[in-house]
């Protein structure tokens, strides 16, 4: 296993795709901060009123995870696909390395690469944010907790992508499959987040009296508002949202939201720290399950 790890890490250090991934992460970190800095310059008054957490780097340090997961998908697809495409995986098998060790060494190296890409974004955005936006109001403990959660989510996502690319013996097909799965997971995560964020009740406004001129309180204390444009009086009513998820359906969505690595990354982007521990447990479970399944599939695979 150590021999394989040594060879894989040496290859990683020379990998053009990996270097491009690191550059993308660093560039993205700097770019997002630069965009915010330009916006703050343009609307300085508005940002000053909003507070330090808005004009600082707070909301930007973990945004990159959503984009970097695509860079990781491209990297895993090409890095693993090349082994099949160039046939170099045969060099390992022909000299007696066990398939389980080959698979696990790849999981370790690809996971490490995704970790570096993720951390690179955070470090660059933090550094650039400190220089251009005056840093962040987040505590170091909080930053470290989100970083660790992001890294485990990224590692779990890498494990899923590795399972796909090791199962497909084609560089092109593997890369496309990795990207497609990542896209589907992102859309699924956004949908899940949207559904879970839907309010249980929403307010409806009805016109009360077309001739009324100003806001008054009704007889039963129902608040009456005035339409700013027309000057017409309106009543506000709380109505149950039919799209609000309840019962088992909500529990399933909540489970998926915490289970899917891309959903986890989205929660981190939204600075939602309520389930970080549970997410880490799910990530470990995903890594173990995909690695186990991947080893079984790879062991049975007829290689060309």
């Amino acid at each position: 296993m150590n021999k394989l790890l040594s060879a894989e890490f040496a290859r990683l250090s020379k990998s053009f795709v990996f270097k491009m991934g690191l550059c993308f992460s660093a560039g993205l970190g700097a770019f997002i901060i630069l965009m915010r800095w330009m916006d703050v310059k343009k609307h300085s008054q508005a940002y000053a009123e909003l507070g330090a957490e808005y004009y600082g780097a707070d909301g930007l340090i973990f945004v990159g995870g959503i984009y970097i997961v695509f860079a990781v998908a491209v990297f895993v697809g090409i890095f693993i696909g090349t082994e099949y495409g160039d046939g170099t995986i045969r060099n390992k098998l022909a000299v007696g390395h066990m398939r389980k060790n080959i698979y696990l060494s790849k999981l370790a190296v690809c996971g490490f690469a995704s970790l570096l890409m993720h951390v690179m974004y955070i470090v660059v955005s933090l550094a650039a944010g400190s220089l251009m936006l005056g840093g962040t109001t987040m505590e170091i403990k909080e930053i470290l907790a989100f970083t660790a959660a992001g890294v485990t989510a990224m590692w779990a996502m890498t494990a899923i992508l590795l399972l796909i690319s090791m199962s497909v013996q084609s560089k092109a097909a593997g890369s496309v499959a990795c990207l497609l799965v990542t896209m589907v997971m992102l859309f699924a995560s956004l949908t899940i987040w949207q559904k879970l964020s839907a309010p249980e009740y929403y307010d409806t406004y009805d016109y009360e009296d077309e001739n009324a001129g100003e806001a008054i309180t009704g007889e039963d204390d129902t608040p009456i508002y005035v339409d700013g444009d027309t000057g017409k009086a309106m009543t506000k009513e709380r109505v149950k949202n039919p799209r609000y998820l309840t019962g088992t359906k909500r529990k399933v969505y909540e489970f998926l939201n915490n289970f899917l690595p891309v959903s986890q990354l989205y929660q981190i982007v939204m600075n939602d720290a309520s389930h970080l521990g549970l997410m880490a447990v799910y990530d470990c479970l995903i890594i173990l399950l995909t690695a186990g399944l991947g080893v079984i599939i790879f062991k049975k695979k007829d290689l060309k």
Binding site: N2, K3, D86, G87, T88, V95, G96
Partner: protein, 304 residues
Amino acid sequence: MDYVLKTNALNKYYKGFKAVHGLSMNVPKGAIYGLIGKNGAGKTTLIRLICGLQEPTSGEYTLYGRKNTEREIVKSRRRMGAVVETPSIYLDMTSEDNLKQQYRILGLPSFDGLEDVLKLVGLENTGKKKAKNFSLGMRQRLGIAIALVGNPDFLVLDEPVNGLDPQGIIEIRELILKLNRQQQITVLISSHILDELSKLATHYGFVDKGRIVKEMSAAQLEAACRKCTRMEVSDTKILAHVLDEMGIEYKIFSDTKADVYAQINVSKLTLALAEYDCQVISMKEFGESLESYYVNLMGGVKNE
């Protein structure tokens, strides 16, 4: 006799298709074993099985005395190097980096001998040129160089001269002979180019429909190949009459050409022909080639 590789009733089926079907063969130590067979005969599948890229459906093989079902087979594999179909090289690396990767995969403590291997295959002056810019012959030689890392005792080469120009074919032939004679490396080589194989092989295995039809040494093949004298005369009808009288086997090709299958007394035959006013224009001794033997064994059309 010591055998490096022995297979016993080896089978490999793909969804009903019998790629290898009850194949038994023996590769003696120090031999250059030529595997001969048409496309789809099962040569490459056999090599994939031996290299551990695929598992046999049933049957077994023994590599350096260890059965493929034993865990210790990995130790035997460390004594072999292989080039299966296309050379297994990283196209985005130099020849030196490719070899260093294999050193790491094998866990060799240093890169000692790397230059010697490159020199052996004639790639010592490729410098920083990446493998993707190599000619087909250079890639093939790099593939063999990778297979030679770690000083293997057994080299498996699948169609090593496929697609090479005449110069490339000569270079690979000389390299294989050098490895066999100077370093006593046993070589298992499959090829379509029978003439080329006949210049190398010390043993032959004829494969058809997934099984060995005939296994023999080069000496046995030579003994089995019939010698003949190709004669050009003014009239083959007269030649046929004279040979019939002498009780000699022959084959007429045209009005003037015929093959005579016997050690003939030239003076006696010439005088006999002269009596019928038949002139002998030329005589040439021929030995049946590997190609003729192959065609006779497998059936098919001989290329005159």
